[in-house]
């Protein structure tokens, strides 16, 4: 799910950036530093939408740098265990398939795909029901439930399931074409 939250960060700035453009310099450095990063607590920082406040700078002892506490609003993407969302299938193999929902990767194991769907190897590996009516392949849109998350320093990785009511393929552009 996407959230709009306020975060705080202590920005260190070199005195050569001081002057009347100090605020702009601070903001552009902030954007460069935090946009695109990921933390286990807040998830992926997608975009900064505004600055709430810039606190008083504090000179660091022994260096010329000055630290400013900056509060900023941003859009973050944070997946939760138990959350249901839509995702695009990116890779299918005999172990299961991978899907992407925005910046986050989700793996759905073969055991969490309905039992009546069988793996079919070939150019376009896929999972198909015995009557061929439902097919999961690359670029399909699926609705899945997140059942586990693993948080790295720079990435969040999820495990999902489509073995439940109202989950599974919602749209297959290849089949519609």
């Amino acid at each position: 799910m996407f959230f709009h939250i306020v975060l705080e960060r202590n920005m260190q700035l070199h005195p050569r950036f001081f002057g009347r453009n100090l605020r702009e310099n601070l903001v552009s450095k902030l954007m460069k530093d935090v946009e695109g990063t990921c933390s286990g607590r807040h998830g992926f920082v997608v975009a900064i939408t505004g600055i709430e406040s810039v606190g008083k700078g504090l000179i660091r002892d022994g260096t010329a740098f000055v630290t400013f506490p900056v509060k900023y609003q941003c859009v973050v993407f944070r997946p939760f265990k138990g959350e249901i969302l839509e995702a695009v299938v990116t890779l299918v193999n005999k172990m299961g398939f991978f899907a992407e929902a925005g910046p986050v990767q989700i793996f759905v194991s073969k055991h969490l795909i309905p039992d009546d769907m069988e793996f079919q190897a070939g150019d376009m590996p896929n999972y198909t029901t015995s009557d061929g009516s439902v097919k999961i392949q690359k670029e399909c849109e699926v609705r899945l439930k997140i059942i586990g998350t693993r948080v790295d320093a720079t990435e969040i990785f999820c495990v999902g399931t489509i073995k439940d009511d109202f989950l599974g393929v919602i749209n297959d552009p290849a089949a519609a074409a």
Binding site: M1, C38, T49, P103, F166
Partner: protein, 138 residues
């Protein structure tokens, strides 16, 4: 680590910080990101180079999965859903997934049916109906 152990969106256990935070539906994120992208376009020739991979992937994702495209419809959806004493998180899950029946809605957002909350099937059905009207007249 114990906080992480308890996390479960189906029971609205998403941590205090996020429960109080403002949730965004995919269509709202789409409006925000596109606006930001347009601003970048004005200052640089190759905006795709300026943005992070996270931004790019998110933009593609929300464009693909936005149920409502025009800003008025997006506002209406939030207004309709906010009449029903939903939490921010529930509101956005419903807005994103647009379930068609009450049964589906409860499967998507099990917390609708937790004790002490008065969401009857009829009330849910009515809410979904209002939503589909917005979609139709968009």
């Amino acid at each position: 680590m114990s906080g992480e152990e308890e996390e479960n969106a189906a029971e609205l256990k998403i941590g205090d910080e996020f429960l109080k935070a403002k949730c965004l539906m995919n269509c709202e994120v789409s409006l925000i990101l596109e606006h930001k992208y347009e601003q970048l376009q004005q200052v640089s020739e190759d905006p795709m180079n300026q943005v992070s991979q996270v931004f790019e992937k998110s933009l593609q994702y929300v464009k693909r999965f936005s149920r409502y495209k025009n800003p008025d419809a997006v506002r209406q959806v939030r207004e309709i859903l906010s009449r029903h004493q939903l939490t921010e998180f529930e509101l956005c899950v419903l807005g994103n997934l647009c379930p068609e029946t009450a049964e589906e809605a409860v499967a998507m957002v099990p917390s609708l049916k937790t004790k002490g909350r008065a969401h009857s099937d009829e009330a849910i059905e009515k809410m979904l109906n209002d939503l589909s009207l917005v979609k139709r007249f968009e």
